[in-house]
């Protein structure tokens, strides 16, 4: 079992839907929403928030700095 649990928060109005976070996530927990922000981009979402371990990979690859990663011990 993972020792940490995490969750991400996406700044949906800043996100451009480049999909790099979804590709980079080692657990494949991120996908693009079917909804769009006011620029018309499909923003990133994390539908299943129970599996994330807060590794910050998505935050590091996000070009626009939209992702805040929270991590806490289980």
């Amino acid at each position: 079992m993972a020792k940490y649990r995490g969750v991400i928060e996406v700044d949906t109005e800043r996100c451009k839907g480049c999909n790099l976070c979804a590709v980079a996530c080692p657990l494949h927990l991120i996908e693009l929403s079917t909804r769009v922000n006011h620029h018309g981009y499909n923003y990133a979402v994390q539908p299943d928030q129970t599996q994330c371990n807060g590794c910050s990979t998505c935050g590091i690859v996000c070009p626009d700095g939209c992702i805040t990663v929270y991590r806490a011990e289980k």
Binding site: V7, E9, C18, N19, L20, V23, V61, G65, T68
Partner: protein, 257 residues
């Protein structure tokens, strides 16, 4: 329920750098420029030198860099950023002066300024984004465009007899006496982003300690110019750019001291 409870400031392990402001960046989705902006903002915050830093913007996609990173910036004429940096460093030797340039600005119109500045050995840092294309003006051929690569001004691919060969600026810079650190990095994967971050930090420290010029070349993507998705661009970069522009330190005199 649990996941909502951990959203508190003390649990933040990664967030947008403090020095990066809230203005939405004009870069295309997945652009390497944004990643490097973020690294610069993080490193300056980490080093605590934001009040003593002056960046020089180029002409090209990164022309609006001054809108996004909350430090002092100067906008230089096309290709003249290193000359401007050289002057600033002589006026304020205790400041951190860096230029942020693309391949059109640094390797084409600004080749003379770049080489002469590096050869003078002023303690500045040049961050060179190499995406093998002119991104801002619509994807024309750049000096760094790979052989056979199609762009809007070489639609049949770059040919040696017509267009010459791709220019390896970092290899030239490594032969100059004035440079103390020349490295080539990429921002296509998490590992490469971490290594690029270390390289930029090293270059900034060299500048602050007056060791000589540092050049950090960052092999980057231009998904709009290459006409690919951001993910395909990263893959294309690994498959095509990296064999010609291999990553790693080309010169590092700091370790030998």
């Amino acid at each position: 329920m649990e996941s909502i409870n951990i959203k508190s400031p003390q649990n933040i392990v990664y967030a947008k750098p403090r020095l990066m402001n809230d203005t939405n960046m004009h870069y295309c989705p997945g652009c390497g420029h944004s990643v490097v902006h973020k690294l610069v903002a993080e490193i300056l915050d980490e080093m605590g030198v934001e009040e003593k830093t002056i960046g020089i913007c180029p002409v090209g996609c990164a022309v609006f860099a001054y809108r996004y990173v909350d430090i002092d910036w100067i906008e230089a004429a096309h290709g003249r950023a290193p000359a401007c940096a050289s002057a600033l460093k002589r006026l304020w030797p205790d400041h951190l002066i860096f230029t942020y340039q693309g391949d059109g600005d640094l390797a084409c119109i600004g080749t003379a300024e770049t080489i002469q500045t590096l050869n003078r050995g002023d303690s500045i840092t040049i961050i060179f984004i190499n995406n093998a294309i002119y991104g801002m003006t619509g994807g024309q051929m750049a000096p760094t465009t790979l052989m056979g690569m199609k762009t809007s001004t070489c639609p049949y691919g770059r040919q040696a007899d017509l267009h010459g060969f791709p220019l390896k600026i970092s290899d030239i810079a490594a032969t100059l006496e004035g440079t103390c650190y020349v490295t080539r990095q990429a921002v296509n994967t998490v590992g490469n982003i971490r290594r690029a971050r270390k390289a930029i930090r090293q270059a900034f420290e060299n500048s602050m300690q007056g060791r000589g010029s540092s050049l950090v070349e960052i092999v980057s993507t231009c998904s709009a110019g290459w006409k690919m998705t951001p993910d395909q661009s990263n893959q294309w970069l690994a498959d095509n750019m990296l064999p010609y522009y291999p990553l790693g330190d080309l010169k590092n005199t700091v370790d030998n001291k």
